[in-house]
Symmetry: C2
């Protein structure tokens, strides 16, 4: 089915970023919220995102503000939607309440995709009229730049909804990773949390500073992780013998490291140590605006990857 | 002290990559090894690395092959060295034997920096004549491209050796991360192992495929990790309230994820599952040469970061 109109429920940062991306792909977008002044804030965010989308080649021409509408009533806002992107607060009772308002207006077969980062699809869909069309579609911040969408079914989700959601996100250039079942943190945040746990251990134990942990990541393994994940990395680490050779020769080294990894607690003392470390890190940034640097870096990186993956080399 | 001559002990891939980097900085390089034909292999690798170093602006002009020498006798090769980069096999008894041969020739105050990824500086330096000048200086593969050097003292290492090693690596454009003490896997490989452990859990439990885990990393958090580490990432995630706000609001979410992380075993069944997953991933690469893609990507990424960090924006 052709998606011509999308309703975004929740006009915070994530909702606004989705709105910019959907507008860039020629879709009619309605953003629903009840917060005072959200229309102006969403419009500002969309305006801010537009030049990035143009730089990436995702958007062309002027921002089509005539295709961006606002609404306060959830049910009515969802009546004509071909697809619904839910971006409300990540609290289960609030989420279920939002879903029930969406279902009061939406057609029975319209896919409802929740942007939740911390809730499970199975929990969100419980008690819904049509739980089979509810999926989790978790983006990474900011969604208009970072291509990943994690698509997760709940226990009651049907394959048709997953297929329709996948087809839609792929049609707007997203890299869809489909989970077989829902787990806490989906995939990417589980991996991020595993890395962060060890980063906390290293700083809490006084092995290295927070600033140095960050420098190690972004000047070392992080450079590769922008280009490939851990499996291909270790496959290449195995040389001609590939991943099998790596596991035979360095599997025991990995296992020894796993056994030595930390299990820190986020107690007040540890949190204070981390905050002091991050304060030092931030002081070291000087005049740099880290958000502008991140977004310029992401755009450059996405352009670079398109170039190397299209076979144009470095030219 | 000005480093004018370096001896690299061990002419494998890491040694050859260090050689190319040192040559690019105008140093006289001697590579010692006893393997049949290592001179030709090192020369080939250095030739292969040179255009990348020129592209990065690290090297200028033609490869100065007249500054690259080879030797088979370790002690003699180290006599005139101002700095020694040890790149032998990562087995403790072999390492100690190599150190003893190096010390038989080297001046008593020449820094000996081991490239070891899995051994501890304290273990390597045990039994040495001058343990105070032995450090670990662990690069990331390939060292001539990836800027990170993890500098680690052993219990007997003196601050003077750490300072001299840091000054040298910084003079050749390396990003030095100094550990306060030696731990298994230093910093970057501990973080990589933490991420890999969860990646193994996700595939072993059938939550997502190896290919999809890799896609999640390189299209999601991995893009950011090329630009910043976990601490700055979460600091920005806290908005105006920064890292403190993040920890107050999302600390419990992190802790919940930590509690849910897997502790897989690398038993034969799991290893087979992983190998099958990586085989699918590799089949999906088609005609792409992943090593050439990685190196082109690394060069482009380092150029991009230099551009955004020098304030040139995206132009």
């Amino acid at each position: 089915m052709q998606i011509e109109a999308i309703t975004i429920v929740g006009g915070g940062l994530i909702g606004a970023s989705w709105a910019a991306l959907f507008l860039a792909h020629g879709v009619q977008v309605t953003v629903q919220d009840v917060a005072e002044g959200f229309e102006a804030r969403v419009t500002d965010e969309v305006r801010r995102a537009w030049p990035d989308l143009v730089a990436l080649g995702t958007a062309r021409g002027d921002l089509p503000l005539d295709r961006l509408c606002f609404a306060s009533d959830t049910a009515r806002a969802c009546e004509d939607a071909d697809f619904i992107q839910e971006c409300g607060p990540d609290r289960l009772e609030v989420k279920r309440e939002i879903i029930s308002r969406i279902e009061a207006g939406a057609r029975a077969d319209t896919v409802i995709a929740s942007s939740t980062s911390s809730l499970l699809a199975s929990d969100i869909q419980q008690g819904a009229h049509n739980p089979e069309r509810i999926v989790v579609a978790h983006p990474f911040n900011p969604p208009h730049l970072v291509p990943l969408v994690e698509l997760v079914p709940g226990r009651q989700t049907e394959a048709e909804a997953m297929g329709a959601a996948r087809a839609f996100y792929e049609s707007i250039g997203r890299e869809v990773v489909e989970l077989k079942r829902d787990v806490v943190g989906h995939v990417a945040n589980r991996l991020s949390s595993a890395l962060f746990r060890e980063a906390v251990h290293i700083v809490a134990e006084g092995i290295a500073s927070a600033e140095d942990v960050d420098r190690a990541v972004m000047n070392g393994p992080g450079l590769r992780w922008a280009l490939m994940g851990p499996y291909l990395t270790y496959h290449l680490g195995g040389g001609a013998g590939g991943f099998r050779h790596y596991m035979e020769h360095l599997g025991p080294t990995q296992a020894a490291r796993w056994a030595d990894l930390g299990e820190p607690e986020l107690d007040p003392e540890t949190i204070n140590t981390l905050i002091e470390g991050v304060n030092d890190l931030v002081a070291g940034l000087g005049d740099v605006d880290p958000v502008a640097r991140r977004d310029a870096g992401l755009i450059g990186l996405l352009e670079l990857k398109r170039r190397i993956d299209s076979g144009d080399g470095q030219s």
